[in-house]
């Protein structure tokens, strides 16, 4: 009695005998689409901000020296009382805020339960990369981003984008990412157009996305 796997692979072979496919090797696939970009850092950053705004994300540009102040201001404007942060978030980002901050897991601390996460007003993360052309933030569960669940349950996601995070387009982004990590690509707050094609923001997932974009160093950076 052959297994389903054997049967299916044998059917594939059968199909290829009945209708031999073209000999098109992987290396022969035509790749004439653009895989490099001419954009410098400033241009990418400007494009990123433009695209984030287009997606109805909130954006706060800030200088690196003012980052902690900006984080505090964003949380205060939002009226946040408690925020969850990933264990590897740079603590200096939180230096100016008096919001109650809970680190999710990390040294000697258990991960926060889903029920507790549901009570928290905000999540603060960095990002693995930010794609200028599409306004996409990518989280890869690294130390400054954390488990996927912490950026999913709270209603407000505050994400910091530093110059070294920014890349030009989707091909560049994929080249920087490790495919086997748990990845979440975020392009604006959640939305649906299922009701008469009326786009409604905020279904599941954080209904407000705010992005702090660090605007220095100024100038071209090779990438």
């Amino acid at each position: 009695m052959s297994s389903a796997k054997d049967d299916i692979l044998s059917r594939v072979r059968q199909a290829h005998v009945a209708a031999p496919p073209p000999a098109l090797g992987y290396a022969d696939v035509a790749r004439e689409y653009r895989t490099t970009s001419e954009l410098g850092l400033d241009a990418m950053r400007e494009l990123l901000i433009d695209r984030l705004l287009d997606y109805k994300a909130l954006v706060r540009p800030t200088r690196a020296a003012d980052l902690a102040t900006t984080v505090a201001a964003a949380l205060a404007d939002r009226g946040v009382l408690t925020a969850v942060v990933p264990p590897g978030l740079p603590p200096e980002w939180l230096a100016e805020t008096d919001v109650e901050v809970r680190f999710d897991g990390g040294l000697n601390q258990p991960p926060i339960s889903v029920a507790d996460l549901d009570q928290m007003g905000a999540v603060i993360t960095g990002c693995a990369t930010a794609v200028a052309e599409t306004g996409t933030l990518v989280l890869d569960a690294s130390g400054d981003q954390g488990r996927r669940v912490i950026s999913l349950i709270p209603d407000y996601h505050l994400c910091v984008v530093r110059p070294e995070n920014i890349c030009a387009d989707v091909p560049q982004a994929l080249a920087r990412l490790e495919g086997t990590r748990p990845l979440t690509m975020i392009s604006g707050p959640s939305a649906t157009s299922d009701i008469e094609l009326n786009r409604v923001e905020g279904v599941h997932g954080p209904r407000t996305l705010e992005v702090i974009v660090v605007t220095d160093p100024v100038g071209e950076v090779p990438h």
Partner: protein, 509 residues
């Protein structure tokens, strides 16, 4: 609005007729399970769906809006044609090398702690899912929208096994609560307007606010509250997958609302059911498809959320992951040299949104979870053409679908190929030619002789009398002609044949 259901025959796998001297072909998807076959032919159903003014208005508005958005974001991409060609070639290559890539995918998923199952058909896939869920001791699961699970009739099979499957996509939720069927691949509840949706929620949603208005934001808010309870307590989730990377074992789900993230992250156990054609060779190849899909489907530069995962990550997300690889007739499609490009489909629905027939008849008329142009070729090939014989004719062959397809599937060519297959199969099974075959033979006889052709053109002018009132010839109540014309209008022939006009024009020279 659903078609009346007749009892389905319980028949197991239907093999295609085997001709003496030829090797057997892979089986098509079995009857009696799943949602690939309608109860009425396309023209029969379309006749009444065309009368549904609300459906036509909603659908016309929806498809027009999405068409506009798609055009705009595609125009931004200066290497769009190059991306399309790369997408096409990648898919053709992958289908040709499925025998290598499928085991590679299995190995990569397994190496990262996932479990891979193989399902020859819908029945087997449903049983595997049921067994996995029952092993967890739960009777309710949350679902992310998945065409593959709709195709195999998973929800029906789960219900029969005492398991409730909660659809978490807003449109699928609307369809489920409304005891209805989806009418579009991407916006399945487009046939419903807001007041209908409000009524459905008031009637079927537990704990809903009785003061609920029909504002889309309020409706979405009601869905959020209703589903959040389910998400936060679900133990098992079921999803499909948009792409699977053979090289790394990574799966990708492309979505807008966040219910995908919820289902893929919160439960302890995740079961993903995916057609074997969704494979992509390497991680970097996603650079092509992640550009083609969002722009073609919702007309966005990028959809709100894309989740990617590989097997199991300790401490993050489901700690048990099962991937069910589904055949269900795909290998039968693969065996059709002229039709197999239908497997290249990435389910963007751009072809639906641009099709003049789909826009007017609606998705239900196709009788399958795959409607529109792609459905007209994929559904008959998955089931065997005789179970969906009317679908390849549900087209004017205008070719708009081919123009917008991000992976360049030549749908019109495959439609014509399937029409030819049907006439041959019909003749073989009924030992006489079909109406189309007879008509084509008659026309061929006339066209093969210049004098006969000239006479025919002249006498065609009589058609002007038939079409006098509205400039179009409708139904012609003569044998043979009736079957062709009762679902098609023909423009009135012109006053002068081309030959007469030419002769007159060139009299001087």
């Amino acid at each position: 609005m659903s078609a009346p259901t007749a009892p389905r025959p319980v028949v197991s796998t239907t093999p295609r007729p085997v001709m003496l001297g030829m090797p057997a072909l892979p089986p098509t998807s079995p009857r009696g399970v799943g949602n690939l076959r309608g109860d009425e032919s396309f023209p029969a159903f379309a006749r009444h769906s065309l009368q549904d003014a609300q459906l036509r208005r909603n659908l016309g508005n929806a498809t027009q809006t999405i068409r506009g958005k798609r055009e705009q974001v595609v125009a931004e991409v200066d290497d769009w044609q190059e991306l399309r060609e790369a997408g096409r070639q990648l898919k053709v290559h992958t289908m040709a090398q499925l025998e290598t890539y499928l085991p590679q995918l299995e190995a990569a998923v397994t190496a990262q702690g996932g479990v891979v199952h193989w399902a020859r058909d819908a029945t087997e896939a449903n049983q595997i899912a049921i067994d996995l869920i029952q092993a967890k001791g739960v009777d309710e699961v949350v679902k992310v929208k998945s065409m593959a699970t709709a195709e195999i009739g998973l929800n029906e099979a789960l219900e029969a096994a005492g398991i409730a499957a909660v659809e978490t996509d807003l449109a699928e939720l609307i369809v489920q609560l409304g005891h209805d069927k989806p009418s579009h691949i991407l916006v399945p509840a487009i046939h419903r307007n807001r007041s209908e949706i409000r009524e459905i929620f008031l009637r079927e949603m537990e704990g809903v606010d009785p003061e609920l208005t029909d504002e889309p934001a309020a409706l979405a808010g009601a869905a959020r509250r209703h589903l959040r309870r389910k998400f936060l307590s679900a133990k098992v989730a079921i999803s499909g997958a948009n792409f699977a990377i053979a090289e790394t074992g990574t799966l990708a789900v492309v979505e807008s609302e966040g219910n995908g993230r919820m289902c893929l992250t919160l439960p302890e156990t995740l079961i993903t059911i995916m057609g074997i054609e969704k494979l992509v060779p390497r991680w970097s190849d996603l650079e092509v498809f992640l550009q083609l899909l969002p722009r073609s489907s919702t007309g966005e530069r990028m959809n709100p959320y894309t989740s990617m995962w590989t097997g199991v990550t300790p401490g993050d997300g489901p700690q048990e992951f099962h991937l069910i690889l589904l055949d269900n007739g795909r290998t039968a499609v693969l065996a059709d040299g002229e039709g197999r490009d239908a497997l290249n489909c990435i389910r963007c629905s751009a072809c639906l949104n641009v099709c003049p027939v789909y826009e007017r008849a609606g998705g239900h008329a196709y009788g399958s979870v795959y409607p529109g142009p792609i459905g007209a070729i994929l559904s008959p090939m998955l089931t065997g053409i005789e179970d969906n014989a009317s679908l390849p004719y549900a087209s004017s062959l205008c070719g708009a679908c081919y123009d917008v397809c991000p992976v360049k599937i030549n749908i019109p060519e495959i439609l014509v190929h399937l029409r030819a297959s049907h006439t041959e199969t019909y003749a073989a099974e009924h030992r006489r030619p079909s109406v189309e075959a007879t008509a084509m033979k008659a026309v061929a006889w006339v066209m093969s002789n210049p004098t006969r052709w000239k006479l025919a053109l002249r006498s065609g002018r009589i058609g002007r009398i038939l079409g006098r009132q509205r400039g179009m010839i409708g139904e012609v109540p003569l044998p043979l002609a009736k079957q062709w014309t009762d679902a098609r209008d023909i423009p009135q022939p012109p006053q002068q044949t081309f030959r007469d006009w030419w002769a007159k024009e060139h009299k001087e020279s």
